[in-house]
């Protein structure tokens, strides 16, 4: 086992454990903080999978911006104090476990299948590409050439989201 593989399994274990804690903690504040741990572990997993730039983005955007927004709203609404649990009773738990199990049973066939050999790139292509072009350029080049129109549409989406959030959250315009 190379160090990369060991690190992958270590961070995968952290991610799964903290995700389980995230959905089972009573306090929304504790859930949010365990989700931050999951997001950090996922960013480390991205690095082991040759996606260093996305790993940095994960920390900046998810763990930095989105989770701060969540914590901000939790504290604004004063939900951190606990109070009665919001986890459903045994019937709800059973249904949730059944449906999540079904979902997992469907998704777990994916690893066996994998992409067909015809369209698969040779082993190490991505690492070589990053070696040659640098981490940022490998992502930026397709983003600003092949995917330019989706990129511009994303900017319109973000503008709409900003306007929508202000309209919804403001008491009086």
């Amino acid at each position: 086992m190379t160090p990369t593989v060991v690190l992958f399994y270590a961070f995968a274990a952290i991610a799964l454990l903290s995700a389980a804690l995230c959905i089972s903690r009573k306090s929304p504040l504790a859930s949010a903080l365990w989700l931050v741990v999951t997001l950090f572990a996922l960013s480390a997993i991205y690095v082991t999978l040759d996606a260093q730039f996305i790993g940095v983005l994960q920390v900046l955007v998810y763990a930095g911006a989105i989770m701060v927004l969540f914590l901000f709203v939790i504290m604004l609404l004063n939900l951190g104090r606990g109070g009665p649990t919001d986890i459903k009773g045994p019937v709800g738990l059973g249904i949730a476990a059944l449906l999540a199990g079904l979902m997992y049973a469907q998704l777990r066939t994916l690893p066996g299948a994998g992409p067909p050999a015809l369209i698969r790139l040779p082993e190490g292509t991505m690492a070589a590409l990053q070696e040659q072009q640098g981490m940022v350029q490998t992502v930026a080049r397709p983003l600003f050439s092949d995917y330019l129109i989706p990129f511009e549409i994303t900017s319109i989406l973000l503008l709409a989201a900003v306007v929508g959030a202000v309209v919804l959250a403001k008491r009086k315009l």
Partner: protein, 98 residues
């Protein structure tokens, strides 16, 4: 070489997210579980990008932008509901119930 394990981790994370959405009643926690599911999908994209080229990374970029927009609008909606109902517990928000 880590494709199989990564896809398995992603499947378990997604199932955990589904379980969280179904088992919780707090709107904000349900929202966080949706983020968990989005992250599981991102992991799939990254894992497959190793073999199928850099397009996977670009799509993760888009998923992150959409998740940020969704979080901003969704939390604004939760704030608006809280102002009317004084709660974020979905059990107590039953205006549409006959």
């Amino acid at each position: 070489m880590l494709l199989g394990p990564a896809l398995t981790v992603s499947a378990i994370l997604f199932a955990l997210g589904v379980a969280g959405v179904l088992v919780r009643r707090n709107a904000i926690v349900i929202f966080m579980c949706v983020e968990l599911m989005l992250n599981a999908v991102n992991l799939t994209f990254i894992a497959l990008a190793q073999q199928l080229g850099v397009a996977g990374h670009v799509f993760v970029f888009f998923v992150m932008a959409v998740a940020a927009a969704e979080a901003a609008v969704g939390l604004a909606i939760i704030l608006a509901i809280y102002r009317h109902q004084e709660t974020v517990n979905l059990q107590d928000i039953h205006l549409l119930k006959g």
